[in-house]
Structure formats: C-alpha cells, structure tokens
Subunit: 476 residues, 2 copies
C-alpha cells in the first residue's frame, strides 16, 4: 500500500496536472448519478488521454490497492458509474478518449474511442451515408463506452439489435492493466469463444472499455408511421407476428402503450396532441423503414393493417399522411416519462420476458399490483417487439422526492414484478443494467449456477476487486 | 482414479446397456473425422438420453479423471470432435438429445436439444411459416450443438449473422457436471455480461451444449438472382457497398468467384452449365430476398446494376429470368469444391479480414503464393460480403491423398496466408473453427493477451482439463 499523496502524485505523473482533480477539487459532477439517487466520494477524478494512460492508471491503482470506477457520460440509470462504498477509489473519466479513429463505408464499420459521444458517432456515420442505429434519450451526452458497458437498448433494437449486437471489436484495459486489443472490423471469426463478450454488459467490473469497432447500416430512405388501436394485449402480440410475417425487417419500431399510459399524458401534458378517441385499452405505434424509395411503404402498411382489421385483430388504425403527423404520433410515445411523473410517484420497471410470455406477464403483474395497492395507476409502455415492456405503478398523491414515505410499497411492487419476471424466464433489466440499484434484486432472481459463473469470472479477471467494486454482483 | 471396468460400469448404469459402446465395439464412425484426416481412439462411446444423463456422465468422468470429447454429427472440418492424444477419453454423442422442445411463431423462436439435425430445425421453422436461416453443406447430418460449438457460418451470414448471432439462449453442462440452464427466448437482457457467449465457438472445451433457443425470421417470399462480371476485386467491393446502400437487407447473398475458380469447374465438371463467356477476372452471384411479394426485386436488381454499369463498375450482368436460371447460377457456386479437387491437391483456407482490407489481402496472397510456387493455380471464392474469402492453392499433378508428398508446400502456403491474415487484422478461421487442425496456426497468429485470456477461462472452468483436451488452444 502506498500513501495517498504518493499515489496521487503517481497519477498526476501519468495524466498531467490538468487532468487530475484531487482533494479539495469539485467532485460533484462525478460522484453523483444523474438521477441524483446516489451520492459517493472519491480520492480523485482522473482523465487519461490515451489507452496507454488508462493502462498506466490501472497499474498504479493495482499497486496501491485503490479501486477504480470507470465513468463515461454519467447518464446511467442504475448508479453503476458512481463511486460508492468505503473502499478508497478514484473515478476514471473517458472524456478525452473522444476520437473517431476511422470510418469505412466499404467495411460498413466505424472505429471509435470509448469516450465518443453517441450523437457524434451517429453523425460520423451519417456523413458517409450510413446509419449507426443505437438511439436513446441520452444520446447527446452518453458515451459509447458506457453504452457498451450496459449493453444499452433504446428504440432501434427490434430492427438492429442491442448494443452487444452492434459491436464488431473492442479494446479493453484489463484489471491488471494489460491492453486487450480487439479493434477489428471482422464480421466472422470462429477462433474459440468471443472474448469481447466478457466486457459488454459488465458495467466496468471486468475492465475498462477504451475503444470499439461498431457496425454501420444502409440508411433508410423511406418511412411510414401508423397508430393502431387494439382491444387486448393478445391482439397486440398477434399483430406483431403478422407485421413481422408480412413486412420483415421493414418493421423499424413496434411500440406499445396502454390506455392508462396515454391518459396520464392527456391529463398532464395539454400540449401533446392525441389525435384519436381513447376508447380501446391498447395502442401501438408502428414505423416501417426501407432503403428503397421505390417501395410504397404506406401501401404496405395499409395492406397489412387492412388484413388485420378483417381478421378483427385491430379496432382502428391511422396511417400518418405526412411527416408532421408522423412526428405527432411519436411525440405521444416520447411523452410517457413526463406524463407519468406528473401523475404521482412512479415505480418503474425494466423487465423483459420472452414474447410468448408477454401477455401472461402483463395480466399477472397488473392483477397482483392492483390487489396489493388498489389506488395505484398501473400503466405500461415499451418496446414490445423486443419483449421489453416498462410496467409503471403510479402512486397518486406522492411526488418523486417522497421515496422514503412509500418505501414499503416500492419494495412490495418490485417484488411482484421480479417474481413474475423470473417465473416467466425473463430479465429484470432489459436495457438499463444492474449497477448498484438492481444488484440485490438480481441476487433474488438470478439462476444460482449463472451467478456462480459471473462470480468466478470476476474473481479470475479481477482478483483484487479493483474494478468498480460493489456493482452488478449481489453481496455474498 | 477408478479402474476402467468400474468406470464403464458406472457409465452403463447412467445411460443403459444399449447406449454405451465399450471395448471391442465398432468405434470407427466416432473416432475418425469425416474428412478422414484424424484417427483417434476412445475407451467408450456413450450416448446419454437427457441433459441429466449428460451431467451424470460428466461427473463420472471428473471423478475418474477421464476426458470427454463431445460429438454431434461429426461433420466438422478441423477434427474438433475426434478423440486424439494419449489421455484416456470417451466420446459423448448427443444423438439422442434430438427433440424440438418448442417452437413459437409469436416469439419468433425455437427451443431445441443440441442433438437436433440442422435440417430438422429448418423444417420445424418452416412448418410455422418462419425461417431458421443457418444453412450449410452438412445440414442434413450436422447437429445444432456442433454448429453452435464452432460458431458455424454458411451462406446466410451476410443477411442473418453467424450461428452466434442466431442464438438467444443456451443450456450447457459445465465441466464439473453442473447444468447451466439458460433456455430463454429473451431478446434483451442487460444483467452483466452474456454468459452463454463463453460456450459458443469453444468447440466443447468449456462444457457441453445440450440445448439452445434460436431466433426465427419471417420467410422471404420473393427472390431475384443475378450473375455479374467485373474487372477487379476493388470493383467487387465497390459493388457490394453500392448494393448495400440501395438494397439494404434485401441483399441475401453476395458470393464471389475468381475466373480461375470457374475455369476449374468448366474444365472438370462438364455437366455444370456456364451460361456466359469467361472474359473478366471476377464474378459475383447476387441474391435478393424480400418478405413482400409486391416488391419487384428484378426491377430493383436491374436498377442497381444499371447504375453500376453506368459508373463502369461492372462489365456485364445477367439477371435470372426464371427459377431454373437462378438454380443454374447457384449450381456454379455450389460446384467450387468438386471442381477444385479434380484439378489437383487443394490447399484451402478459411480466412476472414475486415472488408476494407479485402482487396489488399487478395492481391498480397495471390502475389506471394505465385512467387513461392509458380505452378500453383490460385483460385478464390467465398462469402465476400462477410469478409470471408476462401483462397485455394491448387497444386496440379497431386491428388488429395498425397498430403505427405507436398507437406513443405502446404506449410509454406499456410504461413503466407496466415501472415497476411494477421497483418490485416483478420481471422484464420472465419467459419470452420480451430479444433486440432488449426491450433498451432492459431498459436502463431493469436494476440498474446487474448490467448492468455482464453487459457485463463479454460483453467478456471475446467481445471482438470476434462473437456476436449488438446483442442483449440495451442500447446504451451
């Protein structure tokens, strides 16, 4: 063990004076998560300027027995990037690793530093007439290293897959400081198992992602958007299967909202236009995309919906006749969080279950929450095409800062959702990760053999528990 | 350590008399790989009838210190399923785990035993109007567990991904006999890293895959096929980028052949029709697919090719006017192996390089082999859309059984291909795996940090080296 002053001097020697915030500095932006739920502390915040500097910092931390919390844009939902616990630790920011290393239209790939902002990557792809499809609320400030570390989801998963599926290659600084250089744009590789998969989704507990090679896609040139009214969740799922059969990968989005979800928007956000009667229990927003301008997507959408109407699968449908109307439809979908928060304390969830279990999940969860807490407004929205429906229990009369006053309700409702998720072979975290927020919940629902495997890999790669300790894995 | 008789009695107790072939039995089909290159021996061949029996067999082997070679359809290209070396070992066949467990049109997924024949899975998907896209030469006898263990490629990777990307869930018997039950059809899961990835591509060295949940896709209903003539490999790649831009995921196949490759077919297989002059150095077979019958794919193909012709990217093109003509085009592609073998001893390769490096790779390899062995016919074909081009050096005057007589040439040419592959950030095994055939080559080209990681995971999961010893990892 080294004393702190010596340790900090070592770090300063690596990154330079300007890139270390030491004792007495303004740590606030780095030790609190963006939702403001977790407040931590750190010995220092360090901003290395290269992969080699990251490696040197990690080696210094190993030598000094100091833990490391890697931090990208600090936009995570689960506190994974906040320094918590009583260990001595530093926050390692990736901001300065923000170069687009190369972009290839021929290779349909882009090589980036981990600290690149997601929106900058989207733009670099667009500049060569390609699409990087990962898209989520925080895209203007989140970093791709964080997206990879949490295997982020977003609105384009149905069509393009999760962040894991968008990654071709990875560069990682391992917990011993070694650099694993897997910055390749290879599409096919059958040389043993895929080592990069160990680091995607691991939330910085197994190493620090410093670079990535990502897949690019042809840019859609045409789109069609429709809003559909349905009488049951079973009909929603049946329509999804029909849409997949008829339209294939044109199906760019298939987003569901319950009537209650739209009600809270209509009640609380008068500027959001709801251009139809709310007279059925379920609503779906469908978006079709195509690279070929010559394909008439509105006609394809109308044909598919017409067939569904004849089968009495849908109650009604509105196909957007203009980009403005399409934007109106999407505005409703994008207003779910704001509308819900205005209606009471929101207990939200991020479960995914296999599509074939989705209807059972929705019905069971709604029934059990209603029994437990009859005054709760149970509303739902989500990427149902991915099996990921966000169940919200809104407790009227409570505000977002009254968490402690309804702690018992939160625990009880979490338990209901977790139990139903686990019973149906689902995941309690479809797209937000585990971090600190969900690790005890993970402990309750995880497959014990799998949990043991996660622990074994952690112990093997990081025997001194230097990398983001206390995150992801439940306490033993 | 147990004596062999007691050990075999234990195994018989687990699987029953009928499913153990012991000393004196006919081992031949199980101890020789299908190419006939590797001949091994085993104490016994055992055919468990359930995941639980697989687990019990593994535990018995651990207790007795006997190694296990898992074997599916025994159609592998690299000897991974052949019992080799001087350890006592058994062959564990998965044949009896051959049930389709469930299939869901709604969930777009199928849950299968590892011993299911690939063609049976394709058929079960087809029965519910869905596609399981994995397709390769051995599909009538290979088993899905083997496809997953080698991360098999095939002709549909461009459109649907490798076997790894087709897998949603996995059931694995670990090297200690524990069952890791990950048989879920989840599309999204952000709970730490994805443990199933440790077993996909590991060729049975880290456990035995006993079941899998696989993705299904909407069935294409329309297709168009064209044969295109081009003057350079650069033009081939430029055309690929153009086709992706214009046609998006309609691009179902983009298969390249060099003129020499078609020459050997024309010379040796007179029944294969070549319906055009061989007057350019490169040829591409393009297939477009779509779920929508209303899209005119021939028109889309012609428009794209017309633009390419105007840009002087292509020399000529023939769009198939009937299914018969489309089949004629594909017949040429499917005749590459037979045609090549008739022309001499074939030294073949399975390299992939990033698409942006493909032209350099092709030119360098051709130049260096020609310098080394001027009489070699260097021909090429492959899934160039995946970056996977098979380079064949055909040595005239030698037959397939004269391996030993040109051993020096084989080594020299392998070395050239490996060096160029590694220098361009490629993989020496795009789709065939490592097994025993390529493990020393892997040792020469592997990233040392990655190789150390592979070894660490192996040592952690299988400390007694019970699972398929001597495969994949180079000797130390």
């Amino acid at each position: 063990m080294t004393d702190h002053a010596t340790f900090l001097a070592t770090l300063t020697g690596i990154v330079g004076d300007s890139y270390l915030i030491g004792p007495g500095g303004d740590f606030e932006p780095y030790v609190v998560d963006w939702r403001g739920r977790y407040h931590g502390s750190a010995l220092a915040v360090v901003k290395p300027g290269s992969t080699q500097e990251v490696s040197a910092v990690v080696k210094a931390c190993v030598a000094a027995g100091i833990a490391i919390v890697p931090q990208g844009g600090n936009t995570g939902m689960c506190g994974a990037a906040t320094p918590l616990g009583d260990r001595d630790m530093i926050v390692l920011r990736l901001d300065r690793l923000n170069k687009i290393r190369s972009v290839s239209r021929l290779g349909d790939s882009i090589a980036v530093d981990a600290g690149c902002i997601l929106a900058d990557i989207q733009k670099a792809a667009d500049d060569i007439d390609r699409l990087f499809p990962l898209s989520l609320g925080a895209e203007g400030s989140c970093q791709i290293g964080g997206n990879l570390s949490t295997n982020a989801g977003g609105t384009a998963v149905l069509r393009y897959g999760t962040t894991r599926e968008l990654c071709l290659g990875l560069e990682v600084v391992m917990p011993n400081g070694e650099i694993l250089d897997g910055m390749t744009a290879l599409r096919k590789d059958s040389t043993s198992f895929d080592t990069k998969q160990l680091f995607i989704g691991a939330e910085g507990t197994l190493g620090i992602i410093t670079g990535a090679v990502l897949k690019l896609f042809p840019k859609p040139r045409a789109r069609a958007v429709a809003f559909v009214k349905l009488n049951s969740i079973d009909a929603v799922l049946d329509l999804l299967a029909q849409a997949r059969t008829d339209l294939g990968d044109r199906l760019g989005a298939f987003e569901v909202m319950s009537r209650g979800q739209i009600d809270v928007i209509a009640e609380n956000l008068p500027l959001v236009t709801i251009p139809f009667e709310l007279d059925t229990p379920w609503y779906v927003l469908i978006e079709l995309v195509d690279t070929l301008l010559s394909v008439d997507l509105n006609e394809a959408m109308e044909t598919m919906l017409g067939n569904a109407y004849e089968r009495e699968l849908i109650a009604d449908a509105l196909v957007a006749s203009s980009e403005t109307q399409a934007a109106t439809f999407w505005k409703i979908r994008h207003s779910v969080s704001e509308g819900s928060k205005a209606a009471g304390y929101v207990i939200s969830h991020d479960s995914a279950v296999p599509l074939s279990q989705q209807a059972t999940f929705v019905k069971q969860v709604e029934k059990r929450i209603a029994e437990y807490r009859p005054d709760a407004r149970i509303v739902m929205h989500g990427h149902i095409g991915d099996g990921n429906i966000h169940v919200l229990a809104i407790i009227p009369g409570f505000k977002q800062d009254q968490k402690n006053e309804i702690a018992e309700t939160i625990l009880a409702i979490n338990t209901i959702v977790d139990e139903e998720t686990a019973a149906l072979g689902g995941s309690i975290s479809a797209e937000h990760g585990i971090g600190i927020a969900n690790r005890e919940r993970l402990g309750r629902v995880a497959n014990p053999v799998e949990l043991k495997l996660l622990r074994s890999v952690k112990a093997m790669l990081d025997p001194n528990d230097i990398m983001n300790p206390g995150k992801v894995l439940p306490a033993q």
